[in-house]
Symmetry: C2
Subunit: 562 residues, 2 copies
């Protein structure tokens, strides 16, 4: 029983000025959290209760599914990270020990779990298996939001599963999805939580997913249509909207450049043309072959780096960096004035974003500071191939439902599933004996994250109203809040509180009796802390031989005291 008369962590009159995010500010003001330093928060008793309630729901659902909880170390040996070639990652902390020894405080635990399972996985009968733990993680973030999101220190549930094949995962994944759905359902978030396909990084696109909760201040954008298509913006595809495609093509003209058209911003103003009618070209240098390629796109669209990375990997089996000034000079063009005009004869292979098909009579450059061009059309350009390089924008239509505009909504990631393939199992040498007693060394791994401290923030943001945070009943810092008016009634209140505790309820007893501790203050704190059931014991309720019970969303009623 939390007795407020002995509780120093009072709600503050105003929020400490450390965050520009409303829910983080409220959590600070209402005594849930405190900032230890930028991007690292202490959880005060009220916040700790919310946190451990969230944690408990996750744990229950993971256990119900038969995943095994364990507890891995935070301090990890350097050798583990060298084995997977991940020691030199600047966002991961290195911790010097004695002499030349260095450790890492774990940002994630693939490097722990793989050598552990290496010792225990021996036969195909041991697969699939899934283990998890709930523990703090650390990232050496260069910059982060002063929000209670991922910071330098955060709490994660991370699970890892091991499979004999990718096919084996399919059945397993159906289970995991159920587990995640039940978690978000119990947290009250499911109605606004979607499963978005995620970038599986270098390993695989299939089977990597993000669970995203729609939030107005979300840091991600989810693109979807009514067919069930649902992607993070960084992976989404769509059909660019037609612009002036019905216009007649004009003959290309050169224009003498002046200070008024020295960049695209100025050019749109000068010609009073829309930004989509500007032609932008970016040149990349391939890292291994040192070849140069260019991508041309509408100026109002962005080249999606993930799409480009995959395209270059598929076409050239290579990676890339931006071409620099002297590269461009050698190629016969000028930074800021690149254009793949046929007439310029640049020695660069040029690719074209699909969006270029929808525009006629572009404005653009001419590989010299002195000239610009207008009425540029595809026939004027050295074209190699069209490809989808762009990040979709409001107005793009669905690839699946003809004519339907894509929906864009902000969201925050609450969970994810990533295919790790054999990225970790190979270097650590995982193997097992199959049904025919043959050694197999292809162990497929997946990982599954749920951000626990992040969820506390997402839920605060999601359940926040003008006046309080309406935590779901299982998450609130207590299930009952008892307001006692008059010292004489304390004994009755304590009796009611301990009766409730005997039936596994958690109770905050507001037994403060100071001059300033009126009913308003007490009822206010009950609201701020989002406690769903409020009991009032006062001379007035006792006149009716009872206490007042107010359940959230119901009418209050008097309960007789037996």
């Amino acid at each position: 029983m939390l007795q407020l008369s002995k509780f120093p962590f009072k709600t503050l009159k105003s929020a400490p000025k450390v965050s520009d995010n409303r829910s983080t500010s409220l959590l600070l003001q209402w005594g849930y959290i405190r900032q230890a330093m930028a991007w690292a928060y202490e959880f005060l008793p009220i916040g700790q209760r919310v946190l451990s309630n969230i944690e408990q729901i996750i744990r229950e659902e993971m256990d119900r599914a038969g995943y095994h909880e364990m507890l891995m170390t935070i301090l990890t040996p350097r050798e583990y990270w060298e084995t997977t070639n991940r020691w030199e990652i600047p966002e991961y902390f290195k911790v010097p020990g004695w002499g030349n020894t260095e450790y890492r405080i774990a940002p994630t635990n693939e490097e722990n779990v793989t050598p552990i399972l290496w010792e225990f996985i021996q036969s195909y009968k041991d697969l699939p298996t899934c283990v998890y733990h709930i523990q703090k993680k650390f990232r050496n973030e260069k910059r982060a939001k002063s929000w209670l999101l991922r910071g330098r220190e955060f709490i994660m549930k991370d699970a890892y599963s091991f499979h004999a094949s990718i096919e084996d995962f399919d059945a397993f994944y159906a289970d995991v999805k159920q587990v995640y759905m039940r978690v978000f359902e119990r947290l009250g978030l499911w109605d606004d939580t979607v499963i978005a396909d995620a970038d599986g990084g270098a390993i695989s696109d299939k089977n990597s997913h993000e669970f995203q909760t729609y939030l107005e201040v979300g840091e991600d954008i989810i693109v979807s249509d009514s067919s069930g298509y649902c992607y993070n913006l960084e992976l989404a595809c769509g059909v660019p909207d037609n612009k002036n495609i019905d216009e007649t093509e004009q003959a290309m003209e050169y224009i003498d450049s002046t200070a008024e058209i020295v960049n695209m911003e100025k050019m749109t103003k000068y010609f009073d043309a829309p930004s989509w009618q500007m032609l932008k070209t970016v040149v990349y240098k391939l890292d291994t072959s040192w070849r140069f390629i260019a991508v041309a796109i509408r100026w109002d669209l962005d080249i999606n780096e993930i799409k480009l990375r995959k395209f270059i990997a598929a076409q050239y089996d290579d990676t890339f960096t931006l071409a620099n000034e002297s590269d461009l000079e050698n190629l016969g063009t000028v930074r800021g004035f690149i254009s793949p005009l046929k007439e310029s004869n640049l020695d660069i292979e040029c690719f074209w974003d699909e969006s270029l098909r929808t525009v006629k009579n572009f404005f653009g450059w001419a590989n010299t500071v002195a000239k610009s061009t207008k009425n540029v059309n595809l026939s004027d350009l050295a074209i190699s191939e069209f490809w989808d390089f762009s990040e979709p924008k409001q107005g793009f239509t669905s690839l699946n439902v003809e004519g339907e505009k894509l929906t864009f909504k902000k969201a925050s990631e609450v969970g994810n599933i990533f295919h790790l393939g054999t990225k970790y199992s190979k270097p650590f040498g995982l193997s097992y004996l199959d049904e025919n007693n043959k050694m197999q060394d292809q162990v497929e791994m997946w990982c599954y994250g749920i951000g626990v401290s992040r969820l506390m923030w997402v839920m605060a943001e999601y359940f926040m109203t003008e006046k309080w945070i309406g935590w779901p009943e299982d998450i609130a810092p207590a299930s009952y809040y008892i307001i006692v008016m008059w010292e004489d009634n304390l004994q009755i209140a304590r009796k009611i509180a301990s009766d409730l505790e005997s039936s596994w309820e958690t109770v905050i007893l507001d037994d403060r009796m100071g001059r300033k501790d009126g009913f308003g203050q007490k009822a206010g704190d009950c609201e701020l802390w989002g406690v769903p059931n409020r009991i009032v014991i006062s001379p007035k309720t006792l006149e009716q031989w009872g206490y007042e019970l107010l359940k959230r969303g119901e009418e209050s009623k008097i309960i007789k005291i037996s």
Copy 2:
């Protein structure tokens, strides 16, 4: 329900060769833990269950007493540690961030809790208050035992209380002691756990205590008598036993030194004299005043550094280091041959351990390599004062019960209470308004530790038998272990398991059906994991329409299946 058919963390045939401690080896062999690197352990699912059961008992008792659980950060800002002048402690890790930033991963949390409470303690009404958290701690240990004790990473419950005065603590301490006793009682350790007075370091001896559990492999020694006297050896006092005190004093003689009496080891042999008849003298240099003092003691006894530190602090308000070779030369003596003979006229103030009173006719040195002495008596020596400098030894008698020999027993520390005084509250500027609305800046702090991962080791060691670890019922990795013989009986077993789970029992279902998974293997694992209730479902029990239930320490019986 933990289904062993899908559980890869099997018990091993033999222990990995990483520890020379039996219980640690057994925990490794039986799948409770795994070594991630020296002195940092991973808790595998079976071990994690034990750990979280221990944690839960501690939490329940702390909460019952009204202490507030919170969760502080692991990563802490350097400024906090500079405020208390503790940044430069080599056993505490420093973690480099971007640029010149450095953090610390917390070895203890005074530096978090004090600035947090600084924000919330405002009035005398907020005192006393006590907060705690359960979290991993980190120490950059140079060397540690390869036992599951304190290592580089360990789990602690650390609590901190804040008081308006030392007197205020007395009532509070009675509560805390009750809480600790209930914890150790519930863990089954209380009968062999004692409260020893501990060294309060520089701050205070009063009110600092260690909770020590007697263990044959314990790393501490507890000295006690039947009066209730109970001290860690490093602080214990006793009366040295009389040696040859009834002998007649002989006149002191000089002996020409030979290679055969060049050190005390050789001297005892040469004269066939007992080690207690050798006179040892150690010279110290005071750090501030640069004065020299000497302490003389029986050679078979050790000078207790803590006693010496307190003596010098009280007498000289100073600290000390050992005098070096050239110091000794300047003083007119020689390293290894020091003796405070009156005739030598050394310019050193000499103090005498009480033990010297019980011996006559010492052998000793003469401040020169050339000579030794025999039949040295107190009248031959330059005496300033007698004092108790020695660490008690078997044979010493109690100061409280006349004639009673002190008892020496090995023990392991499971909890402690330390008086922190204002060491942290002053630098962080804690203050509050007293009853008269006057600002007070004297906030007394105490801290209270319980080592959670250490307790798992202590309990393993304490409850270990030749064949298993007999965890108390609330601590065992499960309350029921169900052995199923024959695949046909799986369904009945699952039904019994889920009925047990509905009544809040935890169940391990041994549904392994492989060729090697006979009854012996299964019953063995049940024992190794210390599960207190074993159920067997086999054709034989089903012939009797039931299952066999074997409760630890009882006769097995058949329970009819309804």
